[in-house]
Amino acid sequence: MTIRRDSVTRLPGIRRGVCGSALALLAAGALGATAAPAPATAAAKTPTSRPLVLLLQSHTARVRPDGHAQRIEAVASRRPLTRVRTVLPVLGEAVHGSWLRVRLPGRPNGHTGWIAAARTRLASSEWSIEVDLSARRVAVYQGARQVRRFPAVVGAPSTPTPRGRFFVEEALRLAPSASGAPYALATSARSNVYAEFEGGPGQIAIHGRNHLPEPLGTASSHGCVRLGTKAITWLARHIGAGTPLKITR
């Protein structure tokens, strides 16, 4: 689908960069079925931007847009590392916009489900990230335009970076002494090798290289994508929760 629109309004609770949107109708649906959307909220048309949804409370993801449909999982309203609000990419809608098909974090990688639009707020992002594993590069897009490209360290053959479509769950600043400092973008991807790692769920992140000496342009990480300090700092200043991420071979 070619949903397009964006992005100047900043939504409460969403970090900057996850911009308010555009999907006016979706937004109206998200705010409740009884709220008739005003004409002025018509969807803004831009070449490209991606619809997102902010969870105002925990939701149950289901296999179909139906409150009685099979439950997939609970989706917490806040992310575990920084407690920011959960922001998910929106892939579609149903039943007058009262249900949203969203991409979900965690395993199985790239899975999707339906959540009720009540107690959510619509947003959108102009940003997207693509990781090219064979080129060992990270490209950042603003709309359809590639604005940055960084050399990266990707997963070693024995601990590969998983491929597919994901999103940034949360961005965080790491302690200066921490491995991978100064910043990390925690993603919805999970390692296909490690069920857990360092007390975490085998979560794949894009982060820095503090205490991680393997050179850029190599396939030598445990699955995460490592960037130079300038690159990850730039990303952390521009990329917010919910930003779509594509990892390709």
Binding site: D6, L23, P39, P51, T82, R83, Q142, S221, C224
Partner: protein
């Protein structure tokens, strides 16, 4: 400490079938029979119990309801270019003909290869024929209908229960396919998601709901239920036969368009056909006008209309208005006479193509200055006009991520 996960088993057959359908053309095994709408023809919207509208929807065609009597929300700023029939003899006869057409569509034989139950219409390319869903159907993304050069190619979709389209989904016609020959027979209700570009005659047994900014080239017809619209554009002008009586405008917000060029104003107005950039933060209008000959009524340019044949051939005009940058972008409005097609580009990339008689939308972009180009072509021989202006989208401040623990795979 780490645990190795077992590799997940893929359902290879399902994936392979889905992939094949996603990229391939699904040929029809047999031609579908024509579905005659008879007196439904002039209606672009016909409801059973009620029709409600919110916002400045544009109905290029007739509006009716029967046996119900409720038509709500069609005063200005909504626009209805055709006649309105509220449970009168015309609407009742149209409902009877709709019932007949509904039966004809539903009675068509669906070849085994055209059973699409469980398959999303998005990504499919279908050739002429009858297609079936035993239960609900979903459109997520783009459906292409390929007439393979046959202008009489008929497409009939027989859906057992509901039809739902995701936001920004679209139905695309190619190789001569006509919106008049596309029929959707819905066993219960239909919901078209935000921004859906839909084509064909949508016939539902119960309710039809169009979310915001839906564009329908065809008709929306409910037998027993209600139809709800929100800021939508519906146009049946391509499918109105010449023998059908021209319709009379009922409600219109269209202000008279002066057949002279509007001068540039300091507030961000652009001249017709100019490429003069204007400050993006200010509102403006532009009125590209063709030869100042007598113009017909706004929105009366239906194909095959006898009245139009005698109309002046250069009577088109349009006004392009753009407002200041707001939270949802910059509002752009195109109104005028005999508008055939409006193409809106942002930085030379098409963001909207409309064949409606008027257009209202928001445009936006990434931070920075963008060039918006609105090209209007007309149904008659009026020369097309291009209006160009600039919008400025402010940059957000840099982010400051909160601190957190490093628990990643590294």
């Amino acid at each position: 400490m780490s645990n190795r996960l077992r590799p997940r088993r893929l359902r290879r057959s399902v994936v392979a079938i889905a992939a094949a359908l996603a990229v391939g053309i699904v040929p029809a095994a047999a031609q579908a029979a024509p579905v005659d709408l008879a007196t439904v023809g002039p209606f672009v919207v016909l409801g059973g119990s009620a029709v409600t509208n919110t916002g400045p929807s544009v109905l290029n065609g007739g509006l009716g309801v029967a046996p119900g009597t409720s038509l709500t929300g069609f005063a200005a700023p909504a626009v209805v270019t055709g006649a309105t029939h509220e449970n009168d003899a015309v609407a009742s006869q149209a409902q009877a003909d709709l019932t007949n057409a509904f039966g004809v569509a539903g009675g068509q034989a669906v070849p085994p290869g055209n059973e699409l139950t469980g398959i999303d219409l998005g990504g499919l390319t279908l050739t002429a024929g009858a297609y079936g869903y035993s239960s609900s159907a979903q459109l997520t993304g783009q459906l292409t209908l390929d007439a393979q050069g046959d202008p009489n190619a008929e497409f009939v979709f027989i859906i057992g229960s509901t039809l739902t389209t995701a936001s920004a989904s679209s139905v695309i016609l190619t190789n001569g396919a006509s919106p008049c020959n596309v029929h959707w027979r819905i066993g219960s209700s239909a919901t078209l998601g935000t921004g859906t570009q839909f084509v064909g005659n949508l016939m539902a047994l119960t309710d039809i709901s169009l979310n915001d900014a839906v564009h329908v080239e065809g008709r929306v017809l409910a037998r027993n239920g209600q139809i709800s619209l929100i800021n939508d554009v519906l146009d049946n002008s391509k499918c109105v036969k010449s023998t059908e009586t021209p319709t009379t405008p009922t409600e219109t917000s269209t202000t008279p368009v002066t057949p002279t060029e509007t001068p540039v104003t300091p507030g961000g107005t652009t001249s017709p056909g100019s490429t003069t950039p204007t400050p993006g933060s200010s509102a403006g209008t532009a009125t590209p006008v063709g030869s100042p000959t007598k113009a017909g009524p706004a929105g009366s340019g239906g194909a095959g209309n006898k009245k139009d044949r005698s109309a002046p051939t250069r009577g088109g005009s349009s006004t392009v208005t753009h407002g200041p940058q707001g939270p949802n972008g910059t509002a752009v409005t195109v109104t005028g006479k005999k508008i055939g097609k409006v193409v809106v580009r942002v930085d030379n990339e098409i963001v909207e193509t409309s064949r409606a008689p008027s257009l209202k939308m928001n445009v936006n972009g990434t931070p920075g200055t963008h060039t918006v180009t609105v090209h209007v072509s007309y149904k008659d021989k009026t020369a097309g006009k291009t209006t160009t202006f600039r919008i400025h989208v402010p940059s957000p401040a840099p982010l400051t991520p909160p601190s957190g623990p490093s628990k990643f795979t590294g």
